[in-house]
């Protein structure tokens, strides 16, 4: 009876350690399975493979062109990316005024009143006439108040 109890306990504890080994190996092998690792630490999303890193880098560079208190909007090739960029921009340009062109996929019209247009992924078709645009990583920043020379 005692032997039975001890062996049951041994089996149980072995099961736990097998679980520990499997889980630890899975955790440690994750970067290896990921493929090439980007160690530049440029954004919090460098190795998520979700596309957020590109959006992050675009917005952090765009932020340098938008002065404190100025209004801005973001444009992207699709509504999901546009919403993602808008949500991120509220945090990455906290001292500017965000006006969404679309919100959860629905056009708002608010973005039309923004001074700066942050166009992700080279949306050149949206270039307003006679405006001053600066090309940055991942897109372009346009100041609607400044005319082209």
């Amino acid at each position: 009876m005692v032997v039975g109890k001890i062996s049951r306990g041994r089996i149980a504890i072995t099961v736990w350690w097998v679980g520990v080994v499997i889980s630890t190996v899975t955790l440690l092998s994750r970067p290896h399975r990921h493929g090439e690792i980007d160690l530049s630490l440029r954004s919090p999303f460098d190795n998520t493979g979700s596309g957020h890193a590109e959006q992050w880098l675009f917005l952090t560079e765009a932020a340098r062109h938008v002065p404190r208190g100025a209004s801005f909007t973001v444009l992207a090739p699709d509504r999901d990316t546009e919403m993602s960029l808008y949500m991120m921009a509220v945090g990455l340009l906290p001292e500017a005024l965000p006006l969404p062109s679309s919100y959860f996929g629905q056009p708002t019209g608010a973005g039309d009143n923004a001074r700066f247009v942050l166009e992700f992924d080279d949306r050149r078709d949206m270039q307003p006439q006679k405006t001053c645009a600066t090309t940055i990583t991942g897109g372009r920043v346009t100041d609607r108040w400044v005319s082209e020379p």
Partner: protein
Amino acid sequence: MRHHDHRRSRHGQVGVRAVTIVSFLAAVLGVSVVLGLPVAVHPTLRHLSLLARLSLAWAAGSLILTTILTALSAIGLEWALWFVLLACVGAIAITSWMIRETRSAKSGPPHATRFGLSLWTLCFTLIAGGGLYAYVIGMATSADLSYFWGVKAVHFALERGIDFELLQQPYMIHLHPNYPPLWPVLLAWGAIVAQPMPWIAIPSLTWVCLTAAAAVIFSVLETRLGPHVAAAVSCLWYAVLSTTMVSSFSGGNADGPLVFFLSVALVVILTEAEDESRHLRWLAAVALAGAVFTKSEGAVAAALIVAGTAARDLVWRRPGVLRQTVSLIAPAAATAVFWFVVRIAHGLPLTDPIRETVFHFSFDHVGLIMRVCIRFLTTGVVAVGWLAPLISVVVAGRNRMTRALPGVVTALGILVFAFVYYLHAVGDPLELVVWTFPRLIQPALSAWILSLGVASFSVAGRRNPGTVLGRDAIQ
């Protein structure tokens, strides 16, 4: 010459970045630890390891700091550094008084044997290293950090308070204005000190939460089940939760602190002996308050833990179940009422404006929801987290399932809650399930592992449950 200048300026940037990160972590971790020092020296926790007590101090301090800062914002006062420093001085004074008063109190049982500690240390180090690496290189960062948790923090830091005006704006409902304030307020506090907020360091705080929780779990289990069992159970918990947090991209969101608070509450409750006083209940009650102040689903999990605990105590025929249950839930209820009043007073919504209307069910996608959820639950490390404790309890602890009730009720209750939540989805719920389920199940997994671990190796009805079998188990 220009090359040298460029290199010098690059080094300068790296230096500034490092200073920002260090001051952010010092503010978020260091100040919280100081505020929570009275917890670290509390006589009922003296038997725990130093690492465990510091972890508990940090968690309690985070709760105190958030409560102070939220209260200041609620009454319209700016967050002032001197106020937090004053609170720190108060905490230090209380701590030194407690140390003087309890100097003569008996110390707790001895710590782990060399085997238990060395094995635990080895596994702990491997898991900690793997987890930290994933967060540091940006492999596990949550999109929600850049969508609302961190965004709120940046704005709160700029405003030196909770920015109620921002949260009321129509194009800001994606910030989830009704969500509890602990995580963004804590990050905002760090941002005020660091200036600007080092976004890149925030995912690593999830690692801090899990590591701190693992230290507490090991230390509590060690004194109850012996070092060998404590090492096995806490290592499986740490490895499974670390892996699922990374794979579900939870870095930097509020799931880390939520899992910490819920797991601490559970491990304390689960290791209570049937025939002894509930002298650590206060710690579980504070941890549940922390969970409620961290995430909306924290309230659901806290209610489930309390229900499971009451059920177990009733089966055990313990005296004063009603009184004990009320005292267990009281701090969490007070926290919920506090945040409710703040929202009412400042015109914030009570429910989430971008979520579906409550009690508007759709049964069209039941099959799809079940299929996707079952696939998640039975894949990879998540499956290990369910199966290993289940096999263990079937082999060694079938007759001790009453002890596991608080955790089992919580684990299964959270799964039922998730299913009912998905029934509210309008249209195809696939995206909602895929987006939220891997994170929703983490408290459930934690509760399952802890409860079946304790049930597998404890001896019913004995003081210091399981010490005998816990040591015998691997002989």
